[in-house]
C-alpha cells in the first residue's frame, strides 16, 4: 500500500505543514515573505512527484507564478515600509570594479539563460547583465534597449499567431517565440538593473 508516491506525498505534505505552522506563528512581515518561499518549495516537490514529462510542464508555470508574486510582494513591502528611499552603500571594492571576474560570471549566467530560453531563461540572462551593470556604472543608451524589448515582444506574439493559423510552420514559430521572449526579458531586466544601479 505504501508505494513510492505515497511516501513522497506524505513527506512533502509534512514539509508544507511545518512551514505553514511557522508562518502562522510569525509576526514580522519580511520573515513571512521568506517563509512563503519555503512553502512554494514544498508545493514544487508535490508537483515533481508526478514523475513524467507532465510534471516539467507543470513546474515551469508554477515557478513563473512564484517569482512574479515574489517580485510584486517585495516591491509592495518596500513601498509600504518606506524603505524605497534608502540608499544602499556600494561596497567600493576594487576587485569588483576592475577585475574580469564580473564579466566572466555575467557571461556564464547569460549563456545559461540562453540555453534554457523562454521566460525563465530570459530572467537568468537578465540577472547576469544586471550583475554586470551593478558592478560597473552604465553610461549607455536606454532607447535602444527599449526598442529591442518592444520588437522582441512583437516577435513573440507573431510566433503565437503562426502556431494557431499555420501549424505546419511550428518549428519556426517555436524558435521565434523562444527567442522573442528571451530577448524581451533580458532587455527589461537590464533596464531595471541599470536603473537600480544608478540609484545605489
Amino acid at each position: 500500500m505504501w508505494n513510492e508516491y505515497s511516501i513522497g506525498l506524505a513527506a512533502a505534505f509534512a514539509c508544507a505543514l511545518v512551514a505553514f505552522l511557522a508562518l502562522v506563528w510569525e509576526r514580522d512581515d519580511l520573515h513571512k515573505l521568506l517563509l512563503v518561499d519555503l512553502v512554494e518549495t514544498a508545493a514544487l516537490a508535490v508537483i515533481a512527484l508526478i514523475g513524467t514529462d507532465l510534471s516539467e510542464a507543470l513546474i515551469l508555470p508554477g515557478l513563473v507564478v512564484g517569482i512574479a508574486e515574489l517580485l510584486a510582494l517585495s516591491q509592495i513591502y518596500l513601498v509600504k515600509e518606506g524603505y524605497q528611499q534608502h540608499r544602499v552603500k556600494g561596497l567600493n571594492i576594487e576587485v569588483i570594479m576592475r577585475s574580469p571576474a564580473t564579466v566572466i560570471i555575467a557571461t556564464i549566467l547569460a549563456v545559461y539563460g540562453i540555453i534554457l530560453s523562454g521566460f525563465t531563461g530570459g530572467a537568468i540572462a537578465g540577472l547576469g547583465i544586471v550583475f554586470l551593470l551593478m558592478s560597473r556604472s552604465f553610461s549607455g543608451d536606454f532607447h535602444v534597449l527599449e526598442m529591442a524589448s518592444g520588437i522582441s515582444w512583437a516577435l513573440w506574439v507573431a510566433a503565437f499567431f503562426v502556431f494557431m493559423f499555420a501549424p505546419e510552420w511550428w518549428y519556426l514559430a517555436l524558435m521565434g517565440a523562444a527567442i522573442g521572449i528571451l530577448m524581451k526579458v533580458i532587455t527589461k531586466m537590464s533596464l531595471v538593473g541599470a536603473m537600480w544601479g544608478d540609484q545605489e
Binding site: 512553502v39 508545493a43 508574486e69 510582494l73 509600504k80
Partner: protein, 217 residues
Amino acid sequence: MNEIGGAPLFFLEFGDIVIYFTPFTLTLFLLALVFSVFVLVSRPERQIDIAFGGDAYYAKEISLSELRFRRFMSIACGLACMGAMVTGDVFDFTLFVSLVGICNVGIVAAVRSRHVQNAAYQYGLVALAGTVPMFAAAAMVAATTGTLSMLELAKGTATVPVAARALLVLGVMGEGMAPFYAAKAEMFRAPGAPYVIMCSLSSLLIFLRVAEVILLI
C-alpha cells in the same frame, strides 16, 4: 458528460486543452466580459470625506498615472477571470486563479495610503500561500487519474481522490474569497469604485466556477 452546467453548446479545442461553453460557463463568461468593458470605459469615483461638525468635505483626487495603472490591472483581472470561467483544464484553472490573485494585489497596490498597502500585502501573502494547495491538488489529480482535462474526468471512469478536491477548494478560498478574511475587505477602502469592485466580482465568479468544477470532476 455529467451535465451539471447544462448541455455543452460549443467546444473550442487547442489540442488537448478544451474550452467549453455550457449555459453556466457562458453566463459567467459574459458577466466577466461585460464588467471588463465597464472598467474600460468608466472613470474612477472621487472618495469624499466629510469633516465632522460642519458641512465641509474634501475629495480625494486620483492622478492620471495611478488611474492608468489601476485600470490596466483591472482589465487584466477581468481577462483572467474570463479565462478561468470557461477553461476545461484543471491546471489552467489554477493558473488563472493565481493570476486573478496577483491582479487583485496590483489593483490596490498603487494607492498611497499606508493602511491599504498593509492590507494588500497581507492579502498577497495569503494568496501566495494559497497557490500551494491549488497546485498540489492539480498535481494529485494528474498523478492519480493520468489526465487534467475536465471533460475526461467528467466521464467518471477514474475517481479523483477527495483530498485533491478538498485541497483545490482550500486553495481557491485562500486565493480569492472576500468574506473569509478581513484583509481583502480592508482593501476596499482604496478610492476608485469600478477598479476595486473588480476584486469582489472576480472572487464571486471564481467561487461559482470552483463549485461547478468540484461537482464535475
